[in-house]
Symmetry: C2
Subunit: 185 residues, 2 copies
DNA sequence: GGAATCATGTAAGTAGTTACATGATTGA
DNA sequence: TCAATCATGTAACTACTTACATGATTCC
């Protein structure tokens, strides 16, 4: 289950929808997949250059004339790139990585500190999960309106509902855990 | 929300229960927190040395006489180490990192491939989540018996129930998503 | 004029894994 | 005797983030 760089596929995926510059891709990530994926500039820009070298994308705005250097570079996905993207999208997922969970780590050693301190961590998480839950609800509502006829809508909703469900489960776990700890000897 | 190295606290936490060598710690991680935490040898051993230098743990088996080099080095947590551990356990959790989710990334771009291929990913995940769910159930059952009077039991159960809940939520999301996609246009 | 935003990129560093090297001990 | 497990550690590498540098454009 070794980690491989997927920045490549994020870029290809984003460019499969429309031509964009690096900055646009960065914004698009923020506005769509940020709940389960992030990319820093330090990964994004070098990968863009790499994908051009590999012929998976190309730059369609090399206005060689007025090259004032800080003009946006608009990228377009190539046929080869689209093929590579689809191949990856279809390929099955090899194992699910274990996510490190600081809350659970602290609770696992919970007997070393006061019950009250442990409860505080859980209450804090419950608060967070509740806020997140509401954000997901709002996003789902908005997306259904703003992208009514977008063929990608069902897929985008799937990802939001995953988050909604996960937060809901977390809230329930918090409630149950608070009760359980308060009762415990 | 910058990433900081928590290997330190895993080691301190494990040693707060009993004296152990590096290998034992590695095994203990496998048998207890592997569901939400992992450490590789490449992190573990250098960190052990570092913690000794920082006086947070000490090596209690420097049998300087018969040093055949591959004899286990038994470590014990110091007062300073225990204090540092407790301080961390009580400190509040700064932000929850976004976990990268390959399944959601593939589904987000799902419109680029066939509905069937997307469904396959979800079915596969459902299978995995179901297996995991059963493992959690078994672990919880066993732990309740094997650690009946252990004061840490409620905390350990909390972490297992988190996993159980999370997998259950995932299974439900899979079922719902499969239905939703099959109906879609 | 100046702040915010648009836009690209790099350098330095951290965290982390993998793969290897080494050798002792246990038990079938 | 040979495989498995116990046991420690390092070197090389990858992924990734942060912080910085730079400058254009927009719009109040």
């Amino acid at each position: 289950m070794k980690k491989i760089n997927k920045t490549k596929y994020v870029i290809l995926g984003m460019l499969s929808a429309q031509e964009m510059c690096g900055y646009d891709i960065s914004k698009a990530i923020q506005n769509s997949i940020a709940n389960f994926w992030s990319e820093s500039n330090g990964q994004l820009y070098p990968t863009l250059s790499k994908l051009v070298r590999e012929d998976l994308i190309l730059c369609v705005s090399e206005n060689a004339t007025n090259s004032t250097s800080k003009t946006p570079k608009i990228y377009r996905i190539t046929k080869k790139g689209l093929h590579e993207l689809k191949k990856w999208l279809e390929s099955s997922i090899e194992g699910v990585p274990t996510f490190r969970n600081e809350l659970l780590l602290k609770l696992f050693f919970g007997n070393q500190i006061s019950k009250k301190a442990c409860l505080q961590h859980i209450v804090q998480r419950k608060q967070w999960a509740t806020e997140q839950y509401q954000k997901y609800e709002a996003k789902i509502k908005n997306l259904k309106i703003s992208n009514k006829n977008n063929p990608s809508l069902p897929y985008w909703l799937l990802t939001l509902e995953y988050g909604l469900n996960a937060r809901k489960a977390e809230i329930n776990w918090c409630i149950k855990s608070i009760e359980l700890l308060e009762q415990a000897n």
